[in-house]
Every structure is written in structure tokens, then in C-alpha cells.
Amino acid sequence: MNFPWFRRTGPFFIPVSIIGWLVLFAGIGIAVRLFQDIDKRSHSVSDTLINFVFNLLIIGAAYSLIAFLTSRKPG
């Protein structure tokens, strides 16, 4: 595999390859799907946001783990 897929900018990992962008869009897609699902079941805006942010943090943590492991420069 050709690494790196990401490079770190501040607290975020920015994709630098096509696979990196695919991972980012997959993460965004999952977040949007989760938001719709949580919004359907929640009773208020704060209920939606509290539950969504928790899931967003988990997605962010998983994304940063993938990015960290694939941002190693060869050599």
C-alpha cells in the first residue's frame, strides 16, 4: 500500500490521497445517517444534539485512529 493517506494539521488529519478522501467521506456518510436515525427517535433538538455529538466523537476517534496508522511516512 502507498502511505501516507493523511497528514496532520492541528488536531485534525487531512486526507492527501484518494483512499484518504474515501475514508473521510465514509465517515461523513455514517455521521449523516446516524443523525437522521437519532433525529427520528429523539423528542427535542437538545436530545438529538446530545446523542449525535457523542456518536460524532466516536466516529472522529475511529477516523483519527485510521488516519494515525496510515499517516506514517515510509522509510
Binding site: P11, F13, V53, L57, A61, S64, F68, S71
Partner: protein, 145 residues
């Protein structure tokens, strides 16, 4: 013999323009910074939950942080252990190993300078220990009650 001495003086000491050791240390510190960001993301999950429970105890009458934590631990025992024990312990061990390695490879610098340079790492360890402590306090209270 004098010729040989002059020759030696001319040669001088062998010099390396780039130290391999310096390059490795630089790489290790940059890698360490990347790992710090990763640790912050994973610790943020636990802290977000604690912050949400603190807000809940402030705005919902009769609710306390202890009740919320016990309720969550009861409903999701494995997730509670993961977010409040497994992840913080892993992060603490990883940070300690990295600090030890950097300290050794940097040629054992003065403690004060080292702590200042690696402040983010020490703060991460502190935050991880705080999460572990919170969980252990509430787990102990639950077992006593």
C-alpha cells in the same frame, strides 16, 4: 614523523553534517505529537459523557453525577469499562513508554526542561488518570451501597 603529525593536524576530526540520531529523535517527537491528538480524540468521549452528566445533574432535579454514571454502567457495562478504564489505561501506558523513550534518546535532559517540552503528554496522562479515578470512585461507591 613530523610529516605524519602535520598530516594528522590537517585531517582534524571527522565531521558529520547531519546526525542520524537527531533525525530519529525529531521523527519520534513529531510522531508523538500525532499520537497526542489521537489520545485527545479518544479521551474526549469519556469527558463528553461526564460533562453531559454534570449538566444533567445541574438541570434535572434529583439527578446526580453518581446516579447517571451508575445508570450508564448498569445499562452498558462493557462500554463503561471501555471508555473509563481500557482506553485511559492504554493511553497512560503508551504515553509513559513514549516519554521514557524520548527522555532516554534525548540524552537524559534536565527534568524541568523535559516536563516543559512534553507538557501535552503529561496533561494527557493526568486527564486519563482523572477518568480512571472517577470510574473507580463511583464503582467503589456502588459496591459499598
Amino acid at each position: 614523523m613530523p610529516d605524519f603529525k602535520d598530516m594528522l593536524d590537517e585531517m582534524g576530526k571527522p565531521e558529520l553534517p547531519d546526525l542520524r540520531h537527531k533525525e530519529l529523535l525529531e521523527k519520534m517527537i513529531v510522531r508523538g505529537k500525532d499520537k497526542s491528538i489521537l489520545n485527545v480524540w479518544w479521551l474526549a468521549i469519556g469527558f463528553y459523557m461526564v460533562a453531559a452528566w454534570v449538566m444533567k445533574s445541574a438541570y434535572v432535579p434529583g439527578m446526580t453525577l453518581r446516579h447517571s454514571m451508575e445508570d450508564y454502567s448498569g445499562r452498558h457495562p462493557y462500554l463503561a469499562v471501555l471508555f473509563f478504564l481500557v482506553i485511559p489505561i492504554t493511553i497512560t501506558i503508551s504515553c509513559l513508554f513514549t516519554l521514557r523513550r524520548i527522555f532516554r534518546d534525548a540524552g537524559r535532559p534536565a527534568w524541568k526542561d523535559f516536563v516543559r517540552a512534553m507538557a501535552a503528554r503529561y496533561l494527557t496522562i493526568g486527564a486519563a488518570l482523572l477518568l480512571i479515578l472517577l470510574y473507580l470512585i463511583f464503582a467503589t461507591l456502588k459496591s459499598i451501597a
